[in-house]
Symmetry: C2
Subunit: 227 residues, 2 copies
């Protein structure tokens, strides 16, 4: 290699700038400028900006989800067929993410902020990529949760899982657009306290009494395709 780690330095700079300004607002010239490499290096090493974006996610997401699967495997092996405690399942799924977010030095924190922000605004081509990357993990965790909560309707479990994703994304995105919590509470990196707070909030939501659904919502009337 002529210069060490050109790829890596591009990825690091891109990750950081994407987190700060978003994909569209970040130009290749900003990235290559911050990484102190030539402009053409991005297209040489990654082919295109889109592929660079995908790679920024891939290099961390693969490891993250493997970790989640591994810990779930361990948990289920220990239980030996018996249903798990819901709290244990969530601790694995969200705990791994928040552990990564606590790593401010290795760039994990930056990445989790980026990931949190991306969930809400999937830029067309990232959506498919994310769904694909998550498919296997989600299938396993959904199944585990459903098995762990036999009395609760599946649809309700999935919705609550959806809400939890929202709460975590927002918390991890690190932006408090409306200034709800104290100013420096977010960026001082006290990830452990955040983890404890978020987890008890989510568990409370998961265990909440089932909602009184408006009539006709529980089972949707099938008007079209009556046959």
């Amino acid at each position: 290699m002529a210069e060490i780690d050109t790829r890596q330095r591009i990825l690091d700079a891109a990750e950081s700038l994407f987190t700060e300004h978003g994909f569209d607002a970040t130009t290749l010239r900003q990235i290559t400028g911050a990484a102190e490499v030539n402009l053409a290096a991005v297209n040489y090493h990654f082919g295109s900006k889109e592929e660079l974006i995908r790679e920024v996610f891939r290099r961390r997401l693969t490891w993250l989800n493997q970790q989640r699967l591994q810990e779930l495997d361990r948990l289920e092996a220990e239980a030996g067929g018996a249903p798990l405690k819901p709290s244990r399942i969530l601790e694995v799924f969200f705990g791994v993410a928040l552990k990564m977010a606590a790593d401010s030095k290795g760039g994990g924190r930056t990445f989790m902020r980026l990931l949190g922000r991306t969930y809400t605004k999937p830029s067309e081509f990232v959506r498919g990529f994310l769904a694909e990357e998550y498919a296997a993990v989600l299938a396993r965790f959904k199944a585990a949760l459903i098995k762990a909560l036999p009395g609760v309707p599946q649809e309700e479990i999935l919705w609550r899982f959806h809400f939890m994703m929202g709460a975590m994304s927002y918390a991890m995105s690190g932006t408090d657009a409306l200034h709800i919590v104290a100013k420096h509470a977010l960026d001082d990196g006290d990830a452990e306290a955040l983890y404890a707070r978020l987890m008890s909030f989510m568990l409370g939501g998961l265990r909440a009494p089932l909602p009184m659904l408006p009539a006709g919502s529980a089972k949707r009337p099938r008007i079209k395709k009556a046959a």
Copy 2:
């Protein structure tokens, strides 16, 4: 006016396109094309793209927050000084938003999706604008919640409010990037069921047992500026 409602048609088209593709990815030519007005009309009526974005938010947000304040006023008047039930407070704050989101014909639904997506990714200049627009409302609702939950530490209440904002933003953004819930469950507009589900989840989270915070987090050690 030469053509009726040029301003309005630009705002409608912009709102819809911003929701679909984001601010940066939406060009003025797309907007004016969809609105069937001349390209220069945006700069003539709004001055700049940034100001157009602000106006897209302003025209609905002002009404939304006024509505929230009004309903809180009514609630507090009825209570006559006594602390309110937390659930009532949340029903006002989030209920108004979700009622707006249920209005798919008047564009309220589109706007709330846009708002939900914007919370996580405040594009520099939108952040200040949003915070300013929300300041008065948040102050009132924070105070009401704190008064309604005298036993709970204020910091904890604010964090949980923060998490609720996340859950709602995500739910309202209408994107399920990871395909957690069933495909068509999001866009069929069954806002009432969503409201019921989300509200019981959030209330469960609010009432959850307080987290065990790691040592040294409850009261931050003051190292700098010891004097």
